[in-house]
C-alpha cells in the first residue's frame, strides 16, 4: 500500500488502527507503525491530521521501547538462569540445547 495516494484521513485512521492493534501483545505492529508513518509524522510539511499521527507514532514508539526492554530483561534472565532453575526451566523451554551449559 502506498501512502502517497491515500487521503490524509485514511492515513490517520490507519495509524490509529495500527496503534490500537499493538495493544494485543503486538510490539511488532507498533514497530511497523513507527517505521511506516515516521515520514508522514515528522518529515512531511504539516497538514491537519499530522498532529494526531505524531501522537500515535510517539506512543507506538514508547510502547515498543517498553516491550523491548521487558523482553530483553526476560530473555537475559532466562538464558542466564536456565540451567540453575532445573525443572521449571525445562518446563518453560521449547528447545533445550545439548551439551554442558
Amino acid at each position: 500500500m502506498n501512502l502517497e495516494r491515500v487521503p490524509n484521513e485514511e492515513k490517520l485512521n490507519l495509524c490509529r488502527k495500527y496503534y490500537l492493534g499493538g495493544f494485543a501483545f503486538l510490539p511488532f505492529l507498533w514497530l511497523v507503525n513507527v517505521v511506516w508513518f515516521f515520514r508522514e509524522a515528522f518529515v512531511k510539511p504539516p497538514y491537519t491530521e499530522q498532529q494526531h499521527i505524531k501522537t500515535y507514532v510517539k506512543r507506538s514508539a514508547l510502547g515498543l521501547l517498553l516491550w523491548v526492554a521487558a523482553l530483553t530483561t526476560w530473555i537475559t534472565i532466562f538464558q542466564h538462569f536456565r540451567a540453575q532453575w532445573g525443572e521449571v526451566a525445562d518446563y518453560l523451554s521449547f528447545t533445550i540445547p545439548l551439551g554442558i551449559p
Binding site: 502506498n2 495516494r5 530473555i75
Partner: protein
C-alpha cells in the same frame, strides 16, 4: 491450476499454481515511479486481452506506435528486474535453510497423503512407476481443486474463497513458521523458552495476516509473501519423495501451460471471468512488484485511480489463482505458486545435487526462464504461464550439470588442469 488448499494438518499442503497474466491496463502510468508511458488515449478496450499498442486503431501514427513499443519494452525490462529480486530472495532463503538445517533434507519415511506410493522400492522400474503414479495423483488433486475454485468464483461464492484463503495463510504463517523456528533453534543449539517463542510467532503471524489480507506497507507485504513461499517450498522439499518431486515439477509445468493457454483451461476461464466482471483481485496470493492502481477497463484518457489495497488490479484475476502475473499500471505481478515451485527446484538441487555448481546453474536457468517469460508477456500481453519455460530450463540444467558438468569439473580438478 491455481489451487489453494487450506489445511489444518501438516499432511495436507498448501498448493498454488501460477501463470503470468498480462493486463489490459499497462498504459496508465498512474504510479509515479513508473517509467514514462505515453498517454492512454484510445487504447483501452473492454474486451479481450488486446494489446495496449492499439493494433486495431488505424489512426495512430507508426512513429508513436514504435515509441510505445519501445516504452513497453523498457517498462517490461524494469519489471523484470523488479521480479528478479524477490524470486532470488526466496530461492536464497530456501537454499540457505536446506544447507544449514538438516531437518528439511531428512527423509524419515513420512510422506504427504497426496503421494502415497513410496520410493523405497527394490527396482528402478518400480520406483519410476511409483513416482509417476504419485505425480498423477498430485496433479489430479490440483486439477480438481482448480476446477472447484473456478466454479466457486463463477457462482460468486466469495465468502467461501475468502475464508479458505484466510485459513490457509493462517496455517502457513503460524504452524509452518513454528516448525521452521523450532528446527532452526535445534540446529543452532539455542535454548528458547515458550513465552518468548509465543511472542515471536504471535507477532510474526498476526502482522503477517494484517499485511497480507488487510493493509500494510508494500515492502512488508512483499517480504511476507516471499517468506511464506519459502516456507511452503521447504515443506514440499521435505515431504515429496525424490523422484516424484522432479516428475511433479515437470508435470505441473505442462499443466500450467494447458490451463492457462488452452481455451477451456480453468485458469483462462478464471481470467476471463475476472476481466468481464472487472473485479479486483484478492491480494494474498499474488506478489506485486509495486502498488497497483485500479484502472477502469472502460477508461479512455484518464483512468481514475480508485485505489484499493496492494495487489488489486484492474483486470484480473482473483486471488485463488496462483500465479497470475500481469503487468499492471504499477508493476508486474507473479503468483506465489511460481515462487514456490522455482524455490522447490533450486532447493532440491541444493539438497541432492552435490555441490554449488548445480544449485547455481539451476538458479541461473530459472532467472533466464523468468526473463523470457516476461519478455513474452510484454509482447503478447495476455495471460501467460510462468512455470513452463523456467522449470524446463531448470530441469535441463540440473540434470545436465549433475551428470555432465560435475564429473568433468571433478576430473579437471583431480588432474589440476585449469581452463
Amino acid at each position: 491450476i491455481p489451487l489453494m488448499n487450506t489445511s489444518d494438518s501438516e499432511e495436507e499442503f498448501y498448493n498454488e499454481r501460477t501463470a503470468l497474466v498480462s493486463s489490459e491496463s499497462p498504459t496508465m502510468a498512474t504510479y509515479t515511479q513508473d517509467s514514462q508511458l505515453p498517454g492512454p488515449a484510445d487504447t483501452e478496450t473492454k474486451e479481450g486481452a488486446s494489446s495496449r499498442l492499439a493494433r486495431g486503431t488505424a489512426e495512430r501514427e507508426p512513429a508513436v506506435e514504435s515509441e510505445d513499443e519501445e516504452l513497453t519494452l523498457k517498462y517490461g525490462a524494469k519489471h523484470v528486474i523488479m521480479l528478479f529480486v524477490p524470486v532470488t530472495l526466496c530461492m536464497v532463503v530456501v537454499v540457505a535453510t536446506i544447507k544449514s538445517v538438516s531437518f528439511y533434507t531428512e527423509k524419515n519415511g513420512q510422506q504427504l497423503i497426496y503421494t502415497p506410493f513410496t520410493e523405497d522400492t527394490p527396482s528402478v522400474g518400480q520406483r519410476l512407476l511409483n513416482s509417476v503414479l504419485n505425480t498423477i495423483i498430485m496433479i489430479s488433486v490440483i486439477v480438481v481443486m482448480t476446477i472447484f475454485l473456478v466454479v466457486l468464483y463463477k457462482y460468486r461464492c466469495y465468502k467461501f474463497i475468502h475464508g479458505w484463503l484466510i485459513l490457509s495463510s493462517l496455517m502457513l504463517l503460524f504452524w509452518f513458521s513454528f516448525m521452521y523456528l523450532g528446527e532452526v533453534f535445534k540446529t543452532y543449539n539455542v535454548a528458547m523458552d515458550y513465552p518468548t517463542l509465543v511472542m515471536i510467532i504471535w507477532n510474526f503471524g498476526a502482522v503477517g495476516m494484517i499485511c497480507i489480507h488487510w493493509k500494510g506497507p508494500l515492502q512488508l507485504q512483499q517480504a511476507y509473501l516471499i517468506v511464506i513461499s519459502a516456507l511452503m517450498a521447504l515443506v514440499f522439499i521435505k515431504y515429496l519423495p525424490e523422484w516424484s518431486a522432479w516428475v511433479i515439477l515437470g508435470a505441473i509445468s505442462v499443466y500450467d501451460l494447458i490451463a492457462v493457454l488452452s481455451p477451456k483451461g480453468p485458469l483462462r476461464m478464471l481470467v476471463e471471468t475476472a476481466q468481464e466482471r472487472n473485479e479486483p483481485i484478492f491480494p494474498a496470493l499474488i506478489y506485486s512488484s509495486a502498488m497497483i492502481w485500479m484502472v477502469g477497463m472502460a477508461q479512455t484518457s484518464s483512468p481514475e485511480p480508485r485505489d484499493q489495497e496492494t495487489g488489486q488490479q484492474a483486470t484480473l484475476i482473483m486471488r485463488g489463482i496462483e500465479g497470475l502475473g500481469f503487468p499492471s499500471a504499477g508493476g508486474v505481478k507473479l503468483g506465489l505458486g511460481d515462487f514456490i515451485f522455482y524455490s522447490v527446484l533450486v532447493g532440491k538441487a541444493a539438497a541432492t545435487g552435490g555441490d554449488w555448481n548445480t544449485t547455481l546453474a539451476c538458479f541461473v536457468a530459472i532467472l533466464i526462464g523468468l526473463c523470457l517469460t516476461l519478455l513474452l508477456l510484454a509482447i503478447f500481453k495476455k495471460a501467460l504461464p510462468a512455470l513452463p519455460i523456467s522449470i524446463t530450463f531448470g530441469l535441463v540444467f540440473y540434470f545436465s550439470t549433475d551428470n555432465l558438468v560435475r564429473p568433468f569439473m571433478d576430473s579437471l580438478a583431480a588432474h589440476q588442469f585449469y581452463i
